[in-house]
């Protein structure tokens, strides 16, 4: 009996470990109906926007509270992002343009090129859809949208959800493993989710919890 119980615990442990290691399964779809395609872009701002978010960042067991300010121009895939201390001091200020990233200001520990690149990638991931048309998309009977994009570097982006149930964005590497995940919850204000949580898994795990404080227009 004891041996059986031990075996069960072992199996349970193995099962948990297995779940933790297996990448979340990809949904396979055919190209969807043209009228459903706009649903793939529902969570991204379509017009120029300004936003202020409260950000709780957790990395390597430590946490930090910051303010994130972004002004974007979706049609030109251009935006400017600032990180502010609780006092309002600008810790990081950079602009994403067509030809790359321009860092205007960066205070330690936010002054490395890798940080600038990572932050601007995250802002892009959160606010701008992939540049190409989804490879496949569809709408389930309950209204849930499922959209898949193929990236130029064999990466994949998946968006699933609805305005009622919330949304999830997954970014997979070429091995199919999830490297970033964003969960968005409404209500949506001027096309922006009230709450977002970004989790990065590779190469360095971290989490950003973002709450929308103000937006314009």
């Amino acid at each position: 009996m004891i041996r059986r119980k031990g075996l069960n615990i072992c199996l349970l442990g193995f099962l948990i470990l297995s779940i933790g290691c297996v990448p979340k399964s990809k949904t396979t779809l055919s190209p969807g109906l043209p009228e459903d395609l706009p649903g793939c872009y529902a969570i991204f701002p379509a017009e120029p926007w300004e936003s202020v978010h409260r950000i709780e960042a957790t990395i390597r067991g430590g946490s930090s509270s910051l303010l994130g300010v972004t002004r974007g121009e979706p049609s030109e895939r251009r935006f400017q992002s600032l990180l502010l201390s609780p006092e309002g001091f600008i810790l990081f200020d950079a602009e994403r343009r067509e030809n790359g990233i321009a860092v205007r200001k960066a205070v330690a520990p936010f002054d490395s090129p890798a940080f600038a690149r990572g932050l601007m990638e995250d802002v892009t991931f959160l606010f701008l859809p992939p540049q190409v048309k989804p490879a496949t998309w569809g709408k389930k009977t309950d209204g849930t949208m499922i959209c898949n994009w193929e990236g130029p570097d064999d990466s994949h982006t998946e968006i699933t959800g609805s305005m009622e149930s919330g949304w999830r964005i997954l970014r997979r590497d070429k091995q199919g493993e999830v490297i970033k995940e964003v969960v968005l919850n409404g209500p949506f204000v001027n096309g922006l989710a009230s709450r977002m949580e970004l989790r990065a898994f590779k190469p360095t795990p971290y989490r950003l919890r973002m709450t929308l404080l103000q937006t314009f227009p």
Binding site: V69, R71, E87, G88, Q214
Partner: protein
């Protein structure tokens, strides 16, 4: 260091404002500052950034007890507090339902900044290496602080507007290079009131 100098400026301006009254000469203002034992106030901070159409609002409160105890606390949109008691400086952020120490405490930088504040607070304005001051006693009385080389990369000018009520300021304007600025309005300022010393020890 830059970040905390910015904070120090906010704190210092409160003391200066609390110390002064309109139509006082500079000597009287310095004298008044020497009589301050404690300051307690609430504040509304408006942060004007060039990329934002509307300013970003923050609210908070501060406590000071001479010569070197300070609590500067933001209540929203981010809860954050800096505590100083003597040489001990702690910074906490409120996150996920609990106060957590800030990852980068930068204690040495803060200590240097707070030493500067203490000099000003004790009326030793002329000993400051950071700012040159100009005082205009005509109502509305105001003080202009112009930073020296180094600090002027982050702060261009500070203007403190004194209230008609002696010992109280209406607001402080801090201008930065590049066009951003901060306005802080003080409310419910209490001079030399008593409060628990625990405010300087626990978040």
């Amino acid at each position: 260091m830059k970040k905390f100098f910015f904070l120090s400026v906010l704190v210092t301006t409160v003391f200066l404002g609390a110390a002064g009254a309109p139509a006082q000469d500079w000597i009287s203002l310095k004298e008044a500052s020497r009589n301050i034992r404690s300051v307690k106030a609430e504040f509304l901070q408006k942060r004007y950034l060039q990329i934002l159409t509307k300013p970003l609002h923050s609210e908070g409160k501060l406590f000071f007890y001479a010569p070197d105890s300070l609590r500067w606390e933001y209540l929203n949109p981010l809860r954050s507090v800096m505590l100083q008691k003597g040489n001990t400086i702690q910074v906490y952020n409120f996150s996920e339902g609990a106060w957590k120490p800030e990852m980068t405490q930068a204690v040495e930088a803060r200590r240097m900044v707070l030493a500067e504040i203490s000099r000003w607070f004790q009326g030793r304005f002329d000993e400051s290496k950071g700012f040159k001051h100009t005082y205009s006693p005509e109502p509305p009385g105001h003080i202009i602080l112009v930073p020296g080389e180094g600090i002027n990369r982050f702060i261009q000018r500070i203007e403190i507007f004194l209230s008609v009520r002696p010992g109280v300021i209406d607001r402080v304007e801090i201008e930065e290079p590049g066009g951003s600025r901060t306005s802080i309005e003080f409310r419910n300022v209490e001079i030399n009131s008593s409060f628990s010393p625990e405010v300087f020890e626990k978040p």
